[in-house]
């Protein structure tokens, strides 16, 4: 199984046959933020409170668009500007 890393509290793993992500709350910044780590690649993303609230209110179509592999991780090299590149940051930072 995956080792659950991170300096945050209450780590847990949300996993299915398609993905495995460790979830914890990180306090290294000036206010708390969510720390998400893709356990299959090691990529990390921090999500602040306002971003989380926006996710809660985001329309379903937003999530559906996000599910397109060509949108980010498996994007063609000459496909033009992509969304913000993510990590990977390594665990334990």
């Amino acid at each position: 199984m995956f080792e659950v890393p991170g300096s945050g509290e209450s780590p847990g793993v949300v996993s299915s046959e398609f993905a495995a992500v460790s979830v914890s709350i990180d306090h290294d910044g000036n206010s708390a933020r969510l720390r998400l780590e893709d356990l299959r690649s090691g990529a990390v993303r921090f999500v602040d409170a306002l971003e989380l609230e926006s996710i809660v209110w985001a329309p379903e179509g937003w999530f559906r668009r996000l599910m397109d592999p060509s949108l980010h991780r498996w994007r063609d090299a000459d496909a033009g500007p992509g969304i913000e590149a993510v990590g990977p940051e390594r665990p334990g930072r």
Partner: protein, 431 residues
């Protein structure tokens, strides 16, 4: 003479009609791969087939792998709560999209090349999509195939791979009432299939299982050991002295109606082999929900013992889902029925089912042995036919117009084969 295992060369419908008689059926119906292929086309991929229960996907984005015959199906619940059935085959290279038996995911990503689909089957994207002309090019690509017709009765989800045909209500007919009867045994009116499934695979033709489920002639012989060990009196109900009846419900459905014996006994929960004192919370809940008189009537009449053609068997406390894989290979997916709002009863039902149909259960092991012996036996050359005439001379009609016989008569088999012909040889009817 026709060699067993190979049906005579005729047009498909005519050939099948020649193999099914009112009082006997030909052995090749159980052994001929060409007939099995026709059954897939005319029965399993045409008529309504039981797929699963809504309680197996309680939350939005839940999914569970199921089947329609050999076809692998994913039963999903979308974010609005609607139930969908999609085939487990990537639109790209045909890989299985889902491997886990169940999970929670609003989208499925094929592990082969990453094509990603919504849990209703729509293609959401593919990696490096410039190879398809970009996002716009994806519109030319395929989705997961959907089971074209999905319908639910009392939480039981059925699917039909045919675009058109009779409605589920028409397919179930009076069998729907038996599912209602089952649900009424819950103080909250709902069945839950949450105890987990055991898969029993046998080297036998699927129709041997269907025929056996409401065959009241075999229990006293095949199941005598478990009846004697457990002290169960159920075996006595399957005798010619019993007031229980075998009833043909039409549409290939049949039941062993043991309720006359349970009413004669007049004890709540006698059908489940337990006592009111052992499940006081359940009994109190039932009387509170339905009123003392109706509650007791429900608990005395008990649970149905019904075979809903072609693959759903409710045997009082357990549910079987029949899945044919080949002419001589069948899986029974078995679970203990659970009733919402009845935790004390549910615990007993799980324990009973472990003893009867669990991995080391004694009841289904008996049947499995008979199925496999039967499959080997029917491959012998002579005699060519299997006999179905038990009770043919004493069939009668009940007050509701259904054909009935004694608890041990083979009415259920005859009615199953009659319906079989309407599907396999639709221009003819019973030979």
């Amino acid at each position: 003479m026709t060699a067993v295992g190979e049906a005579p060369e005729r047009a498909p419908g005519e050939r099948v009609r020649s193999l099914v008689r009112p009082d006997r059926v030909h052995g090749s119906l159980y052994t001929d791969p060409t007939i099995f292929a026709q059954e897939l086309e005319h029965i399993w991929y045409t008529t309504w087939v039981y797929v699963g229960h809504v309680s197996e996907i309680p939350q939005p984005k839940d999914y569970v792998r199921k089947s329609i015959g050999p076809q692998q199906v994913i039963m999903t619940r979308d974010r609005e709560g609607e139930v969908h059935l999609v085939l487990n085959r990537c639109a790209h290279r045909g890989n299985l999209v889902c491997e886990a038996p169940s999970g929670n995911s609003g989208s499925f990503r094929c592990p082969y090349h990453g094509w990603t689909f919504s849990n209703t089957g729509e293609l959401l994207g593919a990696p490096f999509n410039k190879g398809y002309g970009g996002k716009e090019g994806l519109k030319e690509l395929g989705n997961l195939a959907r089971v074209p017709r999905v319908a639910i009765h009392r939480g039981f989800v059925f699917g039909s791979l045919a675009e058109d045909g009779p409605s589920l209500a028409e397919h179930l007919g009076p069998a729907a009432d038996r599912l209602d009867q089952l649900a009424r045994l819950s103080p909250e009116g709902e069945v839950e299939l949450t105890a987990g499934f055991v898969q029993h695979e046998v080297n036998a033709n699927w129709k041997m299982l269907v025929e056996n489920e409401t065959d009241g002639y075999h229990p006293q012989f095949v199941h005598s050991s478990i009846f004697s060990i457990s002290g169960s009196s159920i075996g006595d109900l399957y005798s010619d002295k019993s007031t229980a009846v075998t009833r043909a419900l039409g549409g290939g459905h049949s039941e062993n109606d043991l309720s006359p014996e349970f009413r004669r006994l007049g004890v709540p929960m006698g059908w489940a082999g337990t006592l009111e004192s052992k499940i006081p919370d359940y009994v109190a809940s039932m009387r509170e929900t339905y009123g003392p008189q109706t509650g007791d009537e429900i608990m005395i009449n008990g649970s149905p013992h019904i075979m809903i053609f072609p693959n759903l068997f409710v045997a009082e406390i357990q549910l079987f889902q029949i899945q044919p894989l080949a002419v001589d290979r069948t899986i029974q997916h078995v679970t203990a029925i659970q009733f919402k709002g009845a935790p004390d009863l549910n615990r007993r039902l799980v324990t009973q089912c472990v003893g009867s149909v669990g991995p080391a259960g004694m009841l289904l092991a008996d049947d499995a042995e008979m199925y496999e012996r039967n499959q080997r036996g029917v491959a012998q050359l002579q005699p060519e036919w299997l006999d179905l005439r038990r009770g043919l001379h004493r069939e009668s009609t009940d007050d509701d117009g259904f054909t009935i016989g004694t608890a041990t008569d083979e009415i259920s088999m005859r009615s199953m084969w009659k319906h079989y012909l309407t599907l396999m040889a639709p221009q003819g009817g019973a030979a």
